[in-house]
Subunit: 332 residues, 2 copies
Protein backbone atom coordinates (compact mmCIF):
# COMPACT_ATOMS: atom_id res chain seq x y z
CA UNK A 1 0.00 0.00 0.00
CA UNK A 2 2.83 2.34 0.78
CA UNK A 3 4.11 2.30 -2.77
CA UNK A 4 0.73 3.34 -3.97
CA UNK A 5 0.60 6.40 -1.77
CA UNK A 6 4.12 7.24 -2.80
CA UNK A 7 2.94 7.49 -6.37
CA UNK A 8 0.63 10.30 -5.41
CA UNK A 9 3.02 12.32 -3.32
CA UNK A 10 6.03 14.21 -4.62
CA UNK A 11 9.11 13.02 -2.71
CA UNK A 12 9.46 16.19 -0.67
CA UNK A 13 6.12 15.91 1.07
CA UNK A 14 6.25 12.11 1.25
CA UNK A 15 8.29 11.76 4.44
CA UNK A 16 6.67 14.81 5.96
CA UNK A 17 3.24 13.20 5.62
CA UNK A 18 4.30 9.89 7.23
CA UNK A 19 2.38 10.50 10.50
CA UNK A 20 -0.87 10.87 8.55
CA UNK A 21 -0.18 8.29 5.86
CA UNK A 22 -3.02 6.00 6.93
CA UNK A 23 -5.43 8.93 6.99
CA UNK A 24 -4.38 10.14 3.58
CA UNK A 25 -4.91 6.63 2.27
CA UNK A 26 -8.51 6.78 3.52
CA UNK A 27 -8.90 10.14 1.81
CA UNK A 28 -7.55 8.67 -1.44
CA UNK A 29 -10.03 5.80 -1.20
CA UNK A 30 -12.86 8.28 -0.84
CA UNK A 31 -11.61 10.29 -3.78
CA UNK A 32 -11.25 7.18 -5.91
CA UNK A 33 -14.74 5.95 -4.97
CA UNK A 34 -16.19 9.31 -5.91
CA UNK A 35 -15.06 8.83 -9.51
CA UNK A 36 -17.14 5.69 -9.94
CA UNK A 37 -20.09 7.47 -11.52
CA UNK A 38 -22.06 7.67 -14.72
CA UNK A 39 -21.99 8.82 -17.44
CA UNK A 40 -18.63 7.48 -18.57
CA UNK A 41 -17.58 10.90 -19.85
CA UNK A 42 -17.96 12.33 -16.34
CA UNK A 43 -16.12 9.35 -14.86
CA UNK A 44 -13.20 9.84 -17.23
CA UNK A 45 -13.12 13.57 -16.52
CA UNK A 46 -13.13 12.98 -12.75
CA UNK A 47 -10.43 10.31 -12.96
CA UNK A 48 -8.26 12.61 -15.07
CA UNK A 49 -8.38 15.50 -12.63
CA UNK A 50 -8.77 13.74 -9.28
CA UNK A 51 -6.37 10.83 -9.67
CA UNK A 52 -3.50 12.77 -11.22
CA UNK A 53 -0.46 13.02 -8.93
CA UNK A 54 -0.95 15.98 -6.63
CA UNK A 55 0.59 17.36 -3.50
CA UNK A 56 -2.58 16.87 -1.41
CA UNK A 57 -1.43 19.72 0.81
CA UNK A 58 -4.95 20.87 1.64
CA UNK A 59 -6.20 17.45 2.82
CA UNK A 60 -2.98 17.12 4.84
CA UNK A 61 -3.70 20.46 6.52
CA UNK A 62 -7.19 19.30 7.51
CA UNK A 63 -5.99 15.94 8.82
CA UNK A 64 -3.05 17.36 10.80
CA UNK A 65 -5.16 20.24 12.19
CA UNK A 66 -7.81 17.81 13.36
CA UNK A 67 -5.61 14.99 14.66
CA UNK A 68 -3.71 17.43 16.80
CA UNK A 69 -6.75 17.44 19.07
CA UNK A 70 -8.63 14.19 18.53
CA UNK A 71 -8.46 10.77 16.89
CA UNK A 72 -9.01 10.87 13.16
CA UNK A 73 -12.22 9.42 11.81
CA UNK A 74 -14.73 9.39 8.99
CA UNK A 75 -15.66 13.05 9.43
CA UNK A 76 -12.07 14.23 9.22
CA UNK A 77 -11.43 12.07 6.16
CA UNK A 78 -14.60 13.36 4.51
CA UNK A 79 -13.61 16.98 5.12
CA UNK A 80 -10.08 16.36 3.84
CA UNK A 81 -11.52 14.88 0.64
CA UNK A 82 -13.97 17.80 0.40
CA UNK A 83 -11.22 20.45 0.36
CA UNK A 84 -9.41 18.52 -2.38
CA UNK A 85 -12.62 18.28 -4.45
CA UNK A 86 -13.14 21.99 -3.97
CA UNK A 87 -9.54 22.83 -4.88
CA UNK A 88 -9.78 20.70 -8.02
CA UNK A 89 -13.11 22.28 -8.99
CA UNK A 90 -11.47 25.71 -8.90
CA UNK A 91 -8.54 24.47 -11.02
CA UNK A 92 -10.89 22.99 -13.63
CA UNK A 93 -12.83 26.26 -13.89
CA UNK A 94 -9.62 28.33 -13.82
CA UNK A 95 -8.41 26.40 -16.84
CA UNK A 96 -11.69 26.99 -18.70
CA UNK A 97 -11.16 30.70 -18.04
CA UNK A 98 -7.41 30.96 -18.68
CA UNK A 99 -7.05 28.25 -21.33
CA UNK A 100 -3.55 26.99 -20.48
CA UNK A 101 -2.72 23.75 -22.29
CA UNK A 102 -1.19 21.98 -19.33
CA UNK A 103 -2.11 21.46 -15.70
CA UNK A 104 0.34 19.68 -13.39
CA UNK A 105 2.22 18.55 -16.49
CA UNK A 106 -0.81 16.82 -17.98
CA UNK A 107 -3.39 18.06 -20.48
CA UNK A 108 -5.84 20.54 -18.95
CA UNK A 109 -9.30 18.92 -18.77
CA UNK A 110 -11.00 21.32 -21.18
CA UNK A 111 -8.50 20.36 -23.91
CA UNK A 112 -9.80 16.79 -23.68
CA UNK A 113 -13.55 17.19 -23.17
CA UNK A 114 -14.20 20.74 -24.36
CA UNK A 115 -15.08 23.85 -22.40
CA UNK A 116 -18.73 22.91 -21.84
CA UNK A 117 -18.13 19.51 -20.27
CA UNK A 118 -15.18 20.88 -18.27
CA UNK A 119 -17.44 23.62 -16.91
CA UNK A 120 -20.09 21.06 -15.92
CA UNK A 121 -17.49 18.70 -14.44
CA UNK A 122 -16.24 21.62 -12.33
CA UNK A 123 -19.80 22.27 -11.16
CA UNK A 124 -20.13 18.60 -10.32
CA UNK A 125 -16.93 18.75 -8.26
CA UNK A 126 -18.21 21.77 -6.33
CA UNK A 127 -21.34 19.78 -5.50
CA UNK A 128 -19.28 16.68 -4.69
CA UNK A 129 -17.24 18.83 -2.32
CA UNK A 130 -20.41 20.11 -0.62
CA UNK A 131 -21.91 16.61 -0.41
CA UNK A 132 -18.69 15.22 1.07
CA UNK A 133 -18.42 18.10 3.55
CA UNK A 134 -21.99 17.37 4.64
CA UNK A 135 -20.81 13.91 5.77
CA UNK A 136 -19.17 15.66 8.70
CA UNK A 137 -22.72 16.25 9.99
CA UNK A 138 -21.48 19.63 11.11
CA UNK A 139 -23.50 22.68 10.12
CA UNK A 140 -20.77 25.13 11.09
CA UNK A 141 -18.48 23.41 8.62
CA UNK A 142 -21.11 23.45 5.87
CA UNK A 143 -21.55 27.17 6.32
CA UNK A 144 -17.82 27.79 6.46
CA UNK A 145 -17.45 25.73 3.31
CA UNK A 146 -20.05 27.69 1.33
CA UNK A 147 -18.75 31.04 2.54
CA UNK A 148 -15.19 30.12 1.57
CA UNK A 149 -16.36 29.38 -1.96
CA UNK A 150 -18.11 32.77 -2.11
CA UNK A 151 -14.92 34.53 -0.94
CA UNK A 152 -12.93 32.63 -3.51
CA UNK A 153 -15.24 33.51 -6.43
CA UNK A 154 -15.65 37.16 -5.40
CA UNK A 155 -11.85 37.39 -5.21
CA UNK A 156 -11.40 35.99 -8.68
CA UNK A 157 -14.07 38.28 -10.10
CA UNK A 158 -12.29 41.23 -8.46
CA UNK A 159 -9.11 40.09 -10.19
CA UNK A 160 -10.96 39.87 -13.51
CA UNK A 161 -12.47 43.31 -12.99
CA UNK A 162 -9.00 44.79 -12.62
CA UNK A 163 -8.10 43.16 -15.92
CA UNK A 164 -4.67 43.51 -17.42
CA UNK A 165 -4.05 46.83 -15.79
CA UNK A 166 -0.30 46.43 -15.24
CA UNK A 167 0.16 50.09 -14.25
CA UNK A 168 -2.30 49.88 -11.37
CA UNK A 169 -1.03 46.56 -10.03
CA UNK A 170 0.61 46.95 -6.68
CA UNK A 171 1.58 44.90 -3.65
CA UNK A 172 -1.63 45.58 -1.76
CA UNK A 173 -3.82 44.52 -4.62
CA UNK A 174 -1.72 41.42 -5.21
CA UNK A 175 -2.12 40.36 -1.60
CA UNK A 176 -5.83 40.98 -1.62
CA UNK A 177 -6.10 38.75 -4.71
CA UNK A 178 -4.07 35.82 -3.39
CA UNK A 179 -5.76 36.10 -0.03
CA UNK A 180 -9.09 35.29 -1.65
CA UNK A 181 -7.73 32.98 -4.35
CA UNK A 182 -5.40 30.75 -2.35
CA UNK A 183 -5.26 31.59 1.34
CA UNK A 184 -9.05 31.27 1.78
CA UNK A 185 -8.88 27.57 0.93
CA UNK A 186 -5.83 26.97 3.16
CA UNK A 187 -7.76 28.67 5.98
CA UNK A 188 -10.81 26.50 5.31
CA UNK A 189 -8.64 23.37 5.37
CA UNK A 190 -7.04 24.22 8.73
CA UNK A 191 -10.11 25.70 10.39
CA UNK A 192 -12.33 22.76 9.46
CA UNK A 193 -9.76 20.40 11.00
CA UNK A 194 -9.77 22.48 14.16
CA UNK A 195 -13.57 22.53 14.34
CA UNK A 196 -13.78 18.76 13.90
CA UNK A 197 -11.03 18.35 16.50
CA UNK A 198 -13.05 20.58 18.84
CA UNK A 199 -10.14 22.94 19.28
CA UNK A 200 -10.60 25.92 21.61
CA UNK A 201 -11.40 29.36 20.26
CA UNK A 202 -7.78 30.52 20.67
CA UNK A 203 -6.45 27.35 19.05
CA UNK A 204 -8.82 27.68 16.11
CA UNK A 205 -7.75 31.31 15.72
CA UNK A 206 -4.10 30.16 15.63
CA UNK A 207 -4.95 27.55 12.97
CA UNK A 208 -6.75 30.18 10.89
CA UNK A 209 -3.78 32.53 11.04
CA UNK A 210 -1.36 29.70 10.31
CA UNK A 211 -3.42 28.68 7.26
CA UNK A 212 -3.61 32.21 5.97
CA UNK A 213 0.11 33.01 6.23
CA UNK A 214 1.04 29.60 4.83
CA UNK A 215 -1.38 30.06 1.92
CA UNK A 216 0.04 33.48 1.08
CA UNK A 217 3.63 32.15 1.22
CA UNK A 218 2.61 29.17 -0.91
CA UNK A 219 1.09 31.38 -3.60
CA UNK A 220 4.05 33.76 -3.73
CA UNK A 221 6.39 30.80 -4.30
CA UNK A 222 4.00 29.43 -6.93
CA UNK A 223 4.16 32.78 -8.68
CA UNK A 224 7.97 32.89 -8.46
CA UNK A 225 8.23 29.35 -9.88
CA UNK A 226 5.88 30.30 -12.70
CA UNK A 227 8.33 33.03 -13.63
CA UNK A 228 11.73 31.38 -13.11
CA UNK A 229 11.02 27.70 -12.39
CA UNK A 230 12.40 24.77 -14.37
CA UNK A 231 9.89 24.15 -17.16
CA UNK A 232 10.52 20.39 -17.14
CA UNK A 233 9.84 20.13 -13.39
CA UNK A 234 6.90 22.56 -13.49
CA UNK A 235 5.20 20.82 -16.37
CA UNK A 236 4.39 24.15 -18.02
CA UNK A 237 6.32 26.92 -19.80
CA UNK A 238 7.82 29.73 -17.72
CA UNK A 239 5.90 32.98 -17.75
CA UNK A 240 2.43 31.44 -18.03
CA UNK A 241 0.99 34.04 -15.67
CA UNK A 242 2.36 36.87 -17.80
CA UNK A 243 0.82 35.29 -20.88
CA UNK A 244 -2.53 35.30 -19.08
CA UNK A 245 -2.07 38.92 -18.10
CA UNK A 246 -1.69 38.11 -14.41
CA UNK A 247 0.73 40.35 -12.52
CA UNK A 248 2.44 38.62 -9.64
CA UNK A 249 4.64 39.86 -6.79
CA UNK A 250 8.02 39.22 -8.46
CA UNK A 251 6.79 41.06 -11.57
CA UNK A 252 5.62 43.99 -9.45
CA UNK A 253 9.19 44.25 -8.12
CA UNK A 254 10.76 43.64 -11.54
CA UNK A 255 8.72 46.50 -12.94
CA UNK A 256 10.89 48.92 -10.99
CA UNK A 257 13.88 47.79 -13.10
CA UNK A 258 12.19 47.55 -16.47
CA UNK A 259 11.06 50.18 -18.93
CA UNK A 260 7.36 50.91 -19.24
CA UNK A 261 7.68 49.98 -22.93
CA UNK A 262 8.61 46.39 -22.15
CA UNK A 263 5.79 46.08 -19.63
CA UNK A 264 3.25 47.63 -21.98
CA UNK A 265 4.35 45.26 -24.75
CA UNK A 266 4.13 42.21 -22.46
CA UNK A 267 0.53 43.03 -21.60
CA UNK A 268 -0.46 44.06 -25.09
CA UNK A 269 -1.85 41.82 -27.77
CA UNK A 270 0.91 42.98 -30.12
CA UNK A 271 3.50 41.05 -32.09
CA UNK A 272 6.30 41.91 -29.71
CA UNK A 273 4.48 40.35 -26.80
CA UNK A 274 6.23 36.98 -26.65
CA UNK A 275 9.61 38.68 -26.98
CA UNK A 276 8.81 41.08 -24.15
CA UNK A 277 7.66 38.19 -21.94
CA UNK A 278 10.89 36.33 -22.62
CA UNK A 279 12.87 39.43 -21.80
CA UNK A 280 11.05 39.68 -18.48
CA UNK A 281 11.55 36.01 -17.55
CA UNK A 282 15.28 36.24 -18.44
CA UNK A 283 15.70 39.41 -16.45
CA UNK A 284 13.92 37.76 -13.53
CA UNK A 285 16.64 35.11 -13.26
CA UNK A 286 19.35 37.66 -12.52
CA UNK A 287 17.38 40.44 -10.88
CA UNK A 288 16.94 40.91 -7.15
CA UNK A 289 13.17 41.02 -7.59
CA UNK A 290 12.79 37.27 -7.18
CA UNK A 291 14.91 37.32 -4.01
CA UNK A 292 12.74 40.10 -2.61
CA UNK A 293 9.61 38.07 -3.28
CA UNK A 294 11.20 34.95 -1.77
CA UNK A 295 12.13 36.97 1.29
CA UNK A 296 8.50 37.99 1.76
CA UNK A 297 7.35 34.41 1.38
CA UNK A 298 9.91 33.33 3.97
CA UNK A 299 8.66 35.96 6.40
CA UNK A 300 5.07 34.82 5.95
CA UNK A 301 6.10 31.20 6.46
CA UNK A 302 7.95 32.23 9.62
CA UNK A 303 4.79 33.97 10.86
CA UNK A 304 2.85 30.79 10.12
CA UNK A 305 5.42 28.81 12.11
CA UNK A 306 5.03 31.21 15.05
CA UNK A 307 1.28 30.56 15.20
CA UNK A 308 2.08 26.94 15.96
CA UNK A 309 3.44 27.92 19.40
CA UNK A 310 -0.16 28.11 20.58
CA UNK A 311 -0.96 24.57 19.46
CA UNK A 312 -0.26 21.21 21.17
CA UNK A 313 3.25 19.88 20.52
CA UNK A 314 3.67 16.54 18.77
CA UNK A 315 4.00 14.89 15.39
CA UNK A 316 1.01 16.71 13.86
CA UNK A 317 2.31 20.11 14.86
CA UNK A 318 5.72 19.04 13.54
CA UNK A 319 4.06 18.24 10.23
CA UNK A 320 2.52 21.72 10.04
CA UNK A 321 5.90 23.17 10.96
CA UNK A 322 7.54 21.10 8.20
CA UNK A 323 5.07 22.53 5.68
CA UNK A 324 6.21 26.06 6.48
CA UNK A 325 9.61 24.97 5.12
CA UNK A 326 8.53 22.84 2.15
CA UNK A 327 6.21 25.51 0.74
CA UNK A 328 9.34 27.64 0.35
CA UNK A 329 11.97 25.04 -0.58
CA UNK A 330 10.33 23.37 -3.53
CA UNK A 331 10.87 23.35 -7.23
CA UNK A 332 7.33 22.66 -8.43
CA UNK B 1 -45.33 46.67 -1.65
CA UNK B 2 -47.82 44.71 -3.67
CA UNK B 3 -47.02 46.55 -6.83
CA UNK B 4 -43.40 45.68 -6.41
CA UNK B 5 -44.05 41.96 -6.16
CA UNK B 6 -46.37 42.20 -9.12
CA UNK B 7 -43.47 43.44 -11.19
CA UNK B 8 -41.68 40.19 -10.58
CA UNK B 9 -44.52 37.84 -11.31
CA UNK B 10 -46.07 37.24 -14.70
CA UNK B 11 -49.81 37.85 -14.45
CA UNK B 12 -50.74 34.19 -14.69
CA UNK B 13 -48.93 33.13 -11.55
CA UNK B 14 -49.69 36.38 -9.72
CA UNK B 15 -53.14 35.48 -8.41
CA UNK B 16 -52.16 31.87 -7.89
CA UNK B 17 -49.38 32.93 -5.54
CA UNK B 18 -51.60 35.21 -3.43
CA UNK B 19 -51.66 32.88 -0.39
CA UNK B 20 -47.88 32.99 -0.19
CA UNK B 21 -47.38 36.59 -1.25
CA UNK B 22 -45.94 37.68 2.10
CA UNK B 23 -43.54 34.73 2.08
CA UNK B 24 -42.41 35.43 -1.46
CA UNK B 25 -41.79 39.03 -0.45
CA UNK B 26 -39.44 37.80 2.28
CA UNK B 27 -37.70 35.61 -0.27
CA UNK B 28 -37.30 38.60 -2.60
CA UNK B 29 -35.81 40.63 0.24
CA UNK B 30 -33.27 37.90 0.85
CA UNK B 31 -32.44 37.70 -2.81
CA UNK B 32 -32.05 41.46 -3.05
CA UNK B 33 -29.84 41.57 0.06
CA UNK B 34 -27.62 38.86 -1.39
CA UNK B 35 -26.70 41.12 -4.30
CA UNK B 36 -25.21 43.77 -2.01
CA UNK B 37 -21.65 42.54 -2.38
CA UNK B 38 -18.27 43.58 -3.67
CA UNK B 39 -16.69 43.85 -6.15
CA UNK B 40 -19.06 46.03 -8.11
CA UNK B 41 -18.75 43.81 -11.18
CA UNK B 42 -20.12 40.86 -9.19
CA UNK B 43 -22.88 43.03 -7.73
CA UNK B 44 -23.96 44.15 -11.20
CA UNK B 45 -23.86 40.58 -12.49
CA UNK B 46 -25.96 39.33 -9.56
CA UNK B 47 -28.48 42.14 -9.92
CA UNK B 48 -28.81 41.45 -13.64
CA UNK B 49 -29.59 37.77 -13.21
CA UNK B 50 -31.33 37.67 -9.82
CA UNK B 51 -33.56 40.75 -10.02
CA UNK B 52 -34.81 40.19 -13.57
CA UNK B 53 -38.53 39.35 -13.73
CA UNK B 54 -38.92 35.63 -13.21
CA UNK B 55 -41.69 33.18 -12.47
CA UNK B 56 -40.23 32.17 -9.09
CA UNK B 57 -41.95 28.82 -9.47
CA UNK B 58 -39.29 26.91 -7.52
CA UNK B 59 -39.40 29.15 -4.42
CA UNK B 60 -43.21 28.97 -4.58
CA UNK B 61 -43.02 25.16 -4.58
CA UNK B 62 -40.82 25.20 -1.47
CA UNK B 63 -43.02 27.68 0.37
CA UNK B 64 -46.30 25.95 -0.47
CA UNK B 65 -44.87 22.49 0.29
CA UNK B 66 -43.65 23.67 3.67
CA UNK B 67 -46.59 25.83 4.72
CA UNK B 68 -48.96 22.99 4.06
CA UNK B 69 -47.65 21.48 7.30
CA UNK B 70 -46.29 24.31 9.43
CA UNK B 71 -46.07 28.08 9.77
CA UNK B 72 -43.60 29.64 7.38
CA UNK B 73 -40.41 31.07 8.87
CA UNK B 74 -36.83 32.06 8.25
CA UNK B 75 -35.73 28.51 7.35
CA UNK B 76 -38.43 28.11 4.73
CA UNK B 77 -37.65 31.51 3.23
CA UNK B 78 -33.94 30.70 3.17
CA UNK B 79 -34.54 27.41 1.39
CA UNK B 80 -36.89 29.06 -1.12
CA UNK B 81 -34.20 31.63 -1.91
CA UNK B 82 -31.60 28.85 -2.12
CA UNK B 83 -33.47 26.96 -4.86
CA UNK B 84 -33.79 30.18 -6.85
CA UNK B 85 -30.05 30.90 -6.48
CA UNK B 86 -29.32 27.37 -7.59
CA UNK B 87 -31.70 27.60 -10.55
CA UNK B 88 -30.13 30.89 -11.64
CA UNK B 89 -26.61 29.46 -11.28
CA UNK B 90 -27.52 26.68 -13.69
CA UNK B 91 -29.01 29.18 -16.18
CA UNK B 92 -25.87 31.34 -16.06
CA UNK B 93 -23.64 28.34 -16.74
CA UNK B 94 -26.03 26.96 -19.38
CA UNK B 95 -25.71 30.23 -21.24
CA UNK B 96 -21.90 30.11 -21.08
CA UNK B 97 -22.15 26.64 -22.62
CA UNK B 98 -24.89 27.27 -25.20
CA UNK B 99 -24.16 30.93 -25.99
CA UNK B 100 -27.70 32.14 -26.69
CA UNK B 101 -27.91 35.93 -26.90
CA UNK B 102 -31.02 36.30 -24.80
CA UNK B 103 -32.28 34.94 -21.51
CA UNK B 104 -35.81 35.77 -20.36
CA UNK B 105 -35.88 38.47 -23.01
CA UNK B 106 -32.81 40.25 -21.63
CA UNK B 107 -29.16 39.94 -22.58
CA UNK B 108 -27.56 36.72 -21.35
CA UNK B 109 -25.04 37.54 -18.63
CA UNK B 110 -21.98 36.32 -20.53
CA UNK B 111 -22.73 38.79 -23.34
CA UNK B 112 -22.30 41.61 -20.82
CA UNK B 113 -19.40 40.48 -18.64
CA UNK B 114 -17.71 37.84 -20.78
CA UNK B 115 -17.55 34.07 -20.37
CA UNK B 116 -14.97 34.11 -17.58
CA UNK B 117 -16.80 36.41 -15.21
CA UNK B 118 -20.12 34.72 -16.03
CA UNK B 119 -18.56 31.37 -15.14
CA UNK B 120 -17.27 32.75 -11.83
CA UNK B 121 -20.58 34.50 -11.09
CA UNK B 122 -22.32 31.14 -11.64
CA UNK B 123 -19.89 29.50 -9.19
CA UNK B 124 -20.61 32.27 -6.72
CA UNK B 125 -24.35 31.65 -7.07
CA UNK B 126 -23.89 27.90 -6.43
CA UNK B 127 -22.01 28.80 -3.25
CA UNK B 128 -24.62 31.42 -2.33
CA UNK B 129 -27.27 28.74 -2.76
CA UNK B 130 -25.36 26.37 -0.46
CA UNK B 131 -24.73 29.10 2.11
CA UNK B 132 -28.41 30.09 2.09
CA UNK B 133 -29.54 26.46 2.33
CA UNK B 134 -27.27 26.07 5.36
CA UNK B 135 -29.36 28.72 7.13
CA UNK B 136 -32.04 26.07 7.50
CA UNK B 137 -29.70 24.43 10.05
CA UNK B 138 -30.83 21.15 8.58
CA UNK B 139 -28.17 18.66 7.54
CA UNK B 140 -30.59 16.46 5.62
CA UNK B 141 -31.42 19.45 3.46
CA UNK B 142 -27.77 20.31 2.92
CA UNK B 143 -27.07 16.79 1.72
CA UNK B 144 -30.16 16.74 -0.47
CA UNK B 145 -29.10 20.06 -1.90
CA UNK B 146 -25.58 18.90 -2.83
CA UNK B 147 -26.81 15.60 -4.25
CA UNK B 148 -29.39 17.38 -6.40
CA UNK B 149 -26.63 19.52 -7.92
CA UNK B 150 -24.61 16.38 -8.67
CA UNK B 151 -27.62 14.76 -10.37
CA UNK B 152 -28.17 17.92 -12.35
CA UNK B 153 -24.56 18.17 -13.58
CA UNK B 154 -24.24 14.46 -14.34
CA UNK B 155 -27.46 14.72 -16.36
CA UNK B 156 -26.17 17.63 -18.37
CA UNK B 157 -22.86 15.91 -19.04
CA UNK B 158 -24.79 12.84 -20.21
CA UNK B 159 -26.67 15.12 -22.60
CA UNK B 160 -23.39 16.59 -23.84
CA UNK B 161 -21.91 13.11 -24.26
CA UNK B 162 -24.78 12.16 -26.56
CA UNK B 163 -23.99 15.26 -28.58
CA UNK B 164 -25.96 16.18 -31.65
CA UNK B 165 -26.87 12.61 -32.42
CA UNK B 166 -30.31 13.26 -33.87
CA UNK B 167 -30.69 9.68 -35.12
CA UNK B 168 -30.24 8.14 -31.70
CA UNK B 169 -32.47 10.58 -29.86
CA UNK B 170 -35.60 8.91 -28.57
CA UNK B 171 -38.32 9.41 -25.99
CA UNK B 172 -36.57 7.46 -23.26
CA UNK B 173 -33.36 9.42 -23.61
CA UNK B 174 -35.25 12.69 -23.68
CA UNK B 175 -37.02 11.86 -20.44
CA UNK B 176 -33.82 10.81 -18.76
CA UNK B 177 -32.29 14.15 -19.74
CA UNK B 178 -35.12 16.38 -18.52
CA UNK B 179 -35.48 14.29 -15.38
CA UNK B 180 -31.95 15.29 -14.35
CA UNK B 181 -31.98 18.75 -15.90
CA UNK B 182 -35.33 20.10 -14.70
CA UNK B 183 -37.29 17.65 -12.58
CA UNK B 184 -34.42 17.18 -10.08
CA UNK B 185 -34.66 20.83 -9.06
CA UNK B 186 -38.48 20.74 -8.84
CA UNK B 187 -38.13 17.66 -6.62
CA UNK B 188 -35.55 19.43 -4.44
CA UNK B 189 -37.86 22.44 -4.10
CA UNK B 190 -40.85 20.36 -2.99
CA UNK B 191 -38.97 17.83 -0.87
CA UNK B 192 -37.06 20.52 1.03
CA UNK B 193 -40.38 22.24 1.84
CA UNK B 194 -41.76 18.93 3.09
CA UNK B 195 -38.68 18.25 5.24
CA UNK B 196 -38.84 21.72 6.80
CA UNK B 197 -42.58 21.27 7.36
CA UNK B 198 -41.83 17.93 9.04
CA UNK B 199 -44.14 16.09 6.69
CA UNK B 200 -44.55 12.33 7.19
CA UNK B 201 -42.65 9.86 5.05
CA UNK B 202 -45.70 9.19 2.86
CA UNK B 203 -46.42 12.90 2.48
CA UNK B 204 -42.82 13.64 1.53
CA UNK B 205 -42.96 10.81 -1.01
CA UNK B 206 -46.11 12.38 -2.49
CA UNK B 207 -44.38 15.78 -2.68
CA UNK B 208 -41.38 14.20 -4.42
CA UNK B 209 -43.57 12.52 -7.00
CA UNK B 210 -45.61 15.69 -7.49
CA UNK B 211 -42.40 17.69 -8.05
CA UNK B 212 -41.03 15.19 -10.50
CA UNK B 213 -44.16 14.92 -12.68
CA UNK B 214 -44.69 18.69 -12.57
CA UNK B 215 -41.05 19.29 -13.54
CA UNK B 216 -41.28 16.91 -16.50
CA UNK B 217 -44.53 18.52 -17.69
CA UNK B 218 -42.99 21.97 -17.25
CA UNK B 219 -39.95 21.09 -19.36
CA UNK B 220 -41.98 19.51 -22.15
CA UNK B 221 -44.07 22.69 -22.42
CA UNK B 222 -40.88 24.77 -22.35
CA UNK B 223 -39.58 22.71 -25.23
CA UNK B 224 -42.84 23.07 -27.16
CA UNK B 225 -42.83 26.83 -26.65
CA UNK B 226 -39.23 27.01 -27.81
CA UNK B 227 -40.36 25.44 -31.06
CA UNK B 228 -43.71 27.11 -31.74
CA UNK B 229 -44.06 29.89 -29.13
CA UNK B 230 -44.57 33.55 -29.88
CA UNK B 231 -41.09 35.05 -30.21
CA UNK B 232 -42.17 38.39 -28.75
CA UNK B 233 -43.66 36.75 -25.66
CA UNK B 234 -40.82 34.26 -25.29
CA UNK B 235 -38.11 36.89 -25.58
CA UNK B 236 -36.06 34.64 -27.86
CA UNK B 237 -36.30 33.35 -31.44
CA UNK B 238 -38.25 30.14 -32.11
CA UNK B 239 -36.15 27.03 -32.63
CA UNK B 240 -33.34 28.00 -30.23
CA UNK B 241 -33.02 24.42 -29.03
CA UNK B 242 -32.60 23.15 -32.58
CA UNK B 243 -29.91 25.75 -33.17
CA UNK B 244 -28.07 24.41 -30.13
CA UNK B 245 -28.43 20.86 -31.38
CA UNK B 246 -30.86 19.89 -28.62
CA UNK B 247 -33.55 17.42 -29.64
CA UNK B 248 -36.78 17.82 -27.72
CA UNK B 249 -39.95 15.74 -27.48
CA UNK B 250 -41.96 17.55 -30.17
CA UNK B 251 -39.00 17.24 -32.55
CA UNK B 252 -38.72 13.51 -31.82
CA UNK B 253 -42.36 13.18 -32.92
CA UNK B 254 -41.92 15.56 -35.85
CA UNK B 255 -39.05 13.43 -37.10
CA UNK B 256 -41.53 10.71 -38.04
CA UNK B 257 -43.07 13.13 -40.58
CA UNK B 258 -39.90 14.70 -41.92
CA UNK B 259 -37.26 13.40 -44.29
CA UNK B 260 -33.89 12.35 -42.88
CA UNK B 261 -32.33 14.95 -45.18
CA UNK B 262 -34.04 17.85 -43.45
CA UNK B 263 -33.09 16.52 -40.02
CA UNK B 264 -29.48 15.92 -41.03
CA UNK B 265 -29.28 19.41 -42.47
CA UNK B 266 -30.77 20.97 -39.30
CA UNK B 267 -28.14 19.32 -37.15
CA UNK B 268 -25.26 19.92 -39.54
CA UNK B 269 -23.02 22.96 -39.63
CA UNK B 270 -23.89 23.42 -43.29
CA UNK B 271 -25.27 26.42 -45.17
CA UNK B 272 -28.74 24.96 -45.42
CA UNK B 273 -29.03 24.67 -41.66
CA UNK B 274 -31.06 27.79 -40.92
CA UNK B 275 -33.44 26.96 -43.77
CA UNK B 276 -33.92 23.43 -42.45
CA UNK B 277 -34.59 24.74 -38.95
CA UNK B 278 -37.18 27.16 -40.29
CA UNK B 279 -38.81 24.35 -42.23
CA UNK B 280 -39.04 22.31 -39.04
CA UNK B 281 -40.50 25.14 -36.95
CA UNK B 282 -43.07 25.90 -39.66
CA UNK B 283 -44.03 22.27 -39.97
CA UNK B 284 -44.36 22.06 -36.18
CA UNK B 285 -47.16 24.64 -36.23
CA UNK B 286 -49.42 22.48 -38.37
CA UNK B 287 -48.25 19.00 -37.45
CA UNK B 288 -49.84 16.77 -34.80
CA UNK B 289 -46.43 16.34 -33.14
CA UNK B 290 -46.88 19.35 -30.90
CA UNK B 291 -50.33 18.13 -29.83
CA UNK B 292 -48.89 14.73 -28.98
CA UNK B 293 -46.21 16.35 -26.83
CA UNK B 294 -48.82 18.59 -25.17
CA UNK B 295 -50.91 15.53 -24.45
CA UNK B 296 -48.00 13.90 -22.65
CA UNK B 297 -47.35 17.04 -20.63
CA UNK B 298 -51.05 17.13 -19.68
CA UNK B 299 -50.92 13.51 -18.53
CA UNK B 300 -47.86 14.19 -16.40
CA UNK B 301 -49.53 17.25 -14.90
CA UNK B 302 -52.61 15.15 -14.14
CA UNK B 303 -50.40 12.59 -12.40
CA UNK B 304 -48.85 15.42 -10.39
CA UNK B 305 -52.35 16.58 -9.44
CA UNK B 306 -53.25 13.07 -8.27
CA UNK B 307 -50.31 13.02 -5.87
CA UNK B 308 -51.91 15.93 -4.07
CA UNK B 309 -54.72 13.67 -2.84
CA UNK B 310 -52.34 12.45 -0.17
CA UNK B 311 -51.61 15.93 1.12
CA UNK B 312 -53.61 18.15 3.52
CA UNK B 313 -56.38 20.13 1.81
CA UNK B 314 -56.26 23.92 1.91
CA UNK B 315 -54.99 26.98 0.12
CA UNK B 316 -51.43 25.67 -0.20
CA UNK B 317 -52.54 22.44 -1.78
CA UNK B 318 -54.81 24.48 -4.04
CA UNK B 319 -51.78 26.49 -5.10
CA UNK B 320 -49.89 23.32 -6.03
CA UNK B 321 -52.97 22.12 -7.89
CA UNK B 322 -53.16 25.44 -9.73
CA UNK B 323 -49.55 25.03 -10.85
CA UNK B 324 -50.40 21.74 -12.56
CA UNK B 325 -52.66 23.82 -14.81
CA UNK B 326 -50.49 26.90 -15.33
CA UNK B 327 -47.41 24.91 -16.33
CA UNK B 328 -49.49 23.69 -19.28
CA UNK B 329 -51.56 26.77 -20.12
CA UNK B 330 -48.88 29.39 -20.51
CA UNK B 331 -47.35 31.22 -23.41
CA UNK B 332 -43.88 31.86 -22.02
Amino acid sequence: MRGWVRLLLPSQTQSLFLPIEADLREVEKRIERSTEVEPLLLQEALRHVMLAPGKRIRPALTIASGRMFREGGASLHAMAAAVEFLHTATLVHDDVVDQPELRRGAAALYTMVGNSVALLAGDYLFAQAAATASETNNLRIMRLFAESVMTLCAGQIAESARGQDWCGADRERYYSTIDAKTAALFVLSCKAGGILGEASFAQTAALIRYGRQLGLAFQIVDDILDLVGDEAVMGKPAGSDLRQGVITLPVIYLREELSDDVMREAFSGGEGREQAIQMITERARTSGAVDRAYQEARELAAEAAQCLDELPAGEYRDLLMGLTRTVIDRDA
